[in-house]
Amino acid sequence: MRTLSPPRPTTVAAAAPVAPRRHRRRGRSTAAVWILVSPYAVFLTVFGLAPAGYALWTSFVHDGSFSGLRNWAAVFDDYRLGEAAGNVTAYLLLWLPVLLLTVLSLAFTLHARPGRAAGALQLVYYLPGAVTGSAAALLWLFMVSPDSSPFGPLLRLLDVRTATDALSGGSLIAVLAVMGVAVHAGGWIVVLYGALTALPKDVLEAAQVDGASAWRTMWHVKLPMVRTYVAFVLISSFASGSQVFVEPTVLSTGAPGQISPTWSVNQLAYVYATQDGDFGKAAALSLAMLAVGLLAAWIVITRTRMYATDTTKAG
C-alpha cells in the first residue's frame, strides 16, 4: 500500500509562528502579523532571550570578575555531572519508548472507538498531571510502597519489597519513568487525538470500503498521516525528558535523604545556584541544557515539517 503523505491538519496547528504570505495588501497583512506575534515576542524577550543573555554573561563571571571559561570547565569537571547525565540517559531510554507507546495506543484506541466515553477518558488521562507538589509526593510514595499500593503484588513480583527498594538504584529510574509517563501522556494523547480527528474522512472511508481491518487502517493509513505529530511528540519529549527535574524533586520531598539532590542534570544546575551559591556554574550548565533543547527544536523545525504552511509546502 502506498504511504500517504502527511496532510496539514488544521485543528491543532499549535502556536506556530505564521509565515507572512506574499499578498497584494502587504502592508496591512504585515501589521496584522506583528500584532499577532508581538505578545509572544515580548514574552520571548522578557522571559527567554534576556535571561538567556544574562545567564551567558553570568556563566563567564566568577566572584564578580570576568573569568573566561572557568565556570564551564568546573561544570564539566564535576563528577556529579557524569552521574546525573547517566541517570538522565537511562531515564530517557526507558521513559521515551514507554511514553510513545502509551500515547499512540491510547490515542488510536480513543479514535477507533469514538463516542462520549472518548471525551471523558481524555480527561482521565490528563488527571495524573494535575496532581502536583507534596500531594504528588505522598501519592507516589504510597504507590511504590508494596504494603499499601494497589500494585503491591506487581511490585513484589519485581522484587520490590519496600519503598526504600523502589527508590534506590535501577528501580528509582523505573519509578520516575512511570511517574513521567503518567504525568505527560495525557497532554500528548489530547494532541494526537486532535490530529486523528482532523484526518480526511474520505480516506478513512476508502480504507473501510477496501476492506481494511481496524488494525490495518491504523497501521497503514492513520499512522503515516500523523507521523509528523508522532515525531513532534518524540522530539519534544526528548527535550523535556533530558531536563527532568520535577519528578525526582517531588519524590525526594516524600522520602528525604533517599534520592540524591543532584540526580538529574537540571537538579545539579539548581543545586549549584541554591546550595553552592554558585550562579556562574548554574548558568553554564543551564545554557548547556538549553543547547540540548535547541537542538531538539531545530530537528522538529527542519526535519518534521511540523511548521510547514501551505505556501512553503507548495513552494
Binding site: 502556536a15 510502597s145 540524591s260
Partner: protein, 432 residues
C-alpha cells in the same frame, strides 16, 4: 500542553538564574532598616517566636513561617545574596548541617555569636552540642534541640524472648543474631542514610564529617572507629538482624505492627514521634537504654540524627543585638523550651522538659536517665558539613548496598571514603 509547561519551567529557571525570584513566596524584605526584625521559623517554632514578640511589645518583629524542607534556607539566602537584600535577621534551621553552608565565605550569611552571646550562656548547652555550630573556633549558631541517639528497645518483647538489654556492642551483636535466628524477621537496627551513618558511625566516632574549619574536614574511614562498626554490622546484615529499610518507610512501620522491632538504636525523637505514631507500638512497651559501649571505653557515646539551630544574619546591622537576644531567649528560656516537642539543647531546659517525659505513660520505664546521659555524651567530631545530602546518599550507595546484597562492608567503607572525598572536595573542603 507540554510546551507551555516547558516554557514556564524555563522561565522559572531563568528567574532563578537571573536572581529575580528573591522576594517570591511572601518571604518579605529586610535589610532596609526601619528596625523591623525579620524572623524566619518553621511551623513548630512559630508559637515560641510569637510568645517572644508578645513579651517585647517595644520591638517591631515580623515572624514568617517557612517550610521545613532541607535546602530551603540556603536557597532563599542564596537568592537574597544575589539581590543584595531580603535576608532574614534570624533564621531557624531544621537541618543544622546547613550552618556550614550559611557560614561559608561564599554565603557569608551567618554572624559569629561569640561576642553576642556570653560564654557563660553558651556553656549551658549540652556539652559538644554547639560543635555543630562551631567552625575554626567561632560559634555561628545556637542549638535549639538536639537528637542524641539512645538504644530504644521493646521491653515487653525483650522479656518475652528472655533477653537482656545489651551494655556493649558485642552483647548487642550477639542478642541481634540470636533474635534473628530464634524469631525470624526480628530486627535490632536500621542502617539507612542519616539513621545508619549518624547512629552507628557517628556514635563510634568514625570521622566522616569531622570539620576542622569551614574549609577543612577530616574523613578517614580506615580508622578503627570506622572498621569496628563495619565488622559489627557485617554478620548482622547477613543475618538480616539489621535492615536497610529507612525508618520513615511504610514497610518499617509494618515491622513495628508485626512486633518485629526488638531494639532500635536511634535519636531521642524516635521515642515520641516514631514508635507510637508511625510504628503503632502500644503504650507501656518502649524503653530507652544508653548506647552500648565499645571495648576499652566506659562511656556510652551518642551519635546524632537531626535537631535544629538558630542563626543570626551578618546583615542585621543595628538589629544584631536584638536578633541575638531573640535567639538566646528562644534557645535558653527554660519555660519556653520545656514546652517544645524535641529534646532541648540547653541543659537546664532539658531537665524541666524531662520532668513531663519521666511521667509519660507511653514508656515502659522513665526514658530520661538514658536520654540525658546521651545528651551529655555526644561523640565529638560530628560536624556540620556542606555535603550532608551526599553524605546520606553515598552511605546508601556503598555501605547500604553492600549490607543489602551480602557484600563486604569493609570494602564498602573504601568506596564510601571515595564518594565522601569527592563530595567534600566539590563542596570546597580540603580533606585532611
Amino acid at each position: 500542553m507540554k510546551s507551555w509547561r516547558a516554557a514556564s519551567l524555563a522561565a522559572a529557571a531563568a528567574l532563578v538564574v537571573s536572581g529575580c525570584g528573591g522576594t517570591g513566596g511572601g518571604s518579605g524584605n529586610s535589610g532596609d532598616g526601619k528596625g523591623e526584625l525579620l524572623v524566619w521559623v518553621d511551623n513548630t517554632r512559630t508559637p515560641a517566636a510569637q510568645q517572644y514578640k508578645k513579651a517585647h511589645p517595644d520591638l517591631k518583629i515580623r515572624i514568617v513561617t517557612i517550610p521545613p524542607e532541607a535546602g530551603y534556607v540556603p536557597t532563599k539566602v542564596s537568592l537574597a545574596n544575589r539581590a543584595k537584600s531580603g535576608w532574614p535577621d534570624v533564621v531557624f534551621l531544621t537541618n543544622p548541617a546547613e550552618a556550614a553552608t550559611l557560614a561559608s565565605e561564599k554565603f557569608g550569611y551567618a554572624a559569629p555569636l561569640d561576642e553576642l552571646v556570653p560564654k557563660s550562656v553558651r556553656d549551658g548547652f549540652a556539652p559538644g552540642s554547639l560543635d555543630t555550630c562551631t567552625f575554626g573556633g567561632r560559634t555561628y549558631c545556637l542549638r535549639n534541640d538536639i537528637a542524641p541517639t539512645v538504644l530504644w528497645y521493646d521491653a515487653t518483647l525483650m522479656k518475652k524472648y528472655g533477653y537482656q538489654v545489651p551494655k556493649t556492642w558485642a552483647d548487642y551483636e550477639r542478642t541481634g543474631l540470636k533474635a534473628a535466628k530464634e524469631h525470624p524477621g526480628t530486627i535490632v537496627g536500621a542502617i539507612n542514610g542519616k539513621y545508619g551513618a549518624g547512629t552507628y558511625f557517628g556514635s563510634s566516632g568514625c570521622p566522616t564529617r569531622d570539620t576542622l574549619s569551614l574549609t577543612e574536614v577530616d574523613i578517614d574511614l580506615t580508622r578503627k572507629t570506622c572498621t569496628r562498626v563495619a565488622d559489627l554490622l557485617q554478620p548482622m546484615a547477613r543475618a538480616k538482624a539489621v535492615t536497610t529499610v529507612v525508618p520513615t518507610d511504610p514497610a518499617f512501620a509494618k515491622l513495628g505492627q508485626d512486633d518485629r522491632i526488638l531494639m532500635l538504636p536511634g535519636p531521642a525523637w524516635f521515642g515520641d514521634f516514631m514508635f507510637g505514631p508511625a510504628f503503632k507500638i502500644p503504650e507501656g512497651r518502649i524503653a530507652a537504654a544508653p548506647m552500648p559501649t565499645w571495648p576499652g571505653e566506659t562511656t556510652s557515646y551518642a551519635g546524632q540524627v537531626g535537631g535544629g539551630a538558630f542563626l543570626v544574619s551578618a546583615h542585621a546591622g543595628d538589629r544584631t543585638e536584638a536578633a541575638a537576644d531573640l535567639v538566646r531567649r528562644l534557645t535558653t528560656d527554660v519555660a519556653l523550651q520545656a514546652k517544645q516537642p524535641t529534646y532541648p539543647a540547653f541543659t537546664a531546659a532539658a531537665e524541666r522538659w524531662g520532668e513531663a517525659k519521666a511521667k509519660d505513660p507511653y514508656y515502659a520505664s522513665d526514658p530520661m536517665p538514658a536520654l540525658s546521659a546521651a545528651a551529655n555524651a555526644l561523640r565529638p567530631g560530628f560536624g556540620a558539613v556542606r555535603y550532608e545530602a551526599d553524605w546520606q546518599t553515598s552511605f546508601n550507595d556503598t555501605v547500604g548496598r553492600a549490607a543489602d546484597s551480602g557484600g563486604n562492608l569493609r570494602k564498602a567503607l573504601a568506596s564510601w571514603q571515595d564518594k565522601l572525598d569527592a563530595a567534600a572536595e566539590t563542596s570546597e573542603y580540603t580533606v585532611g
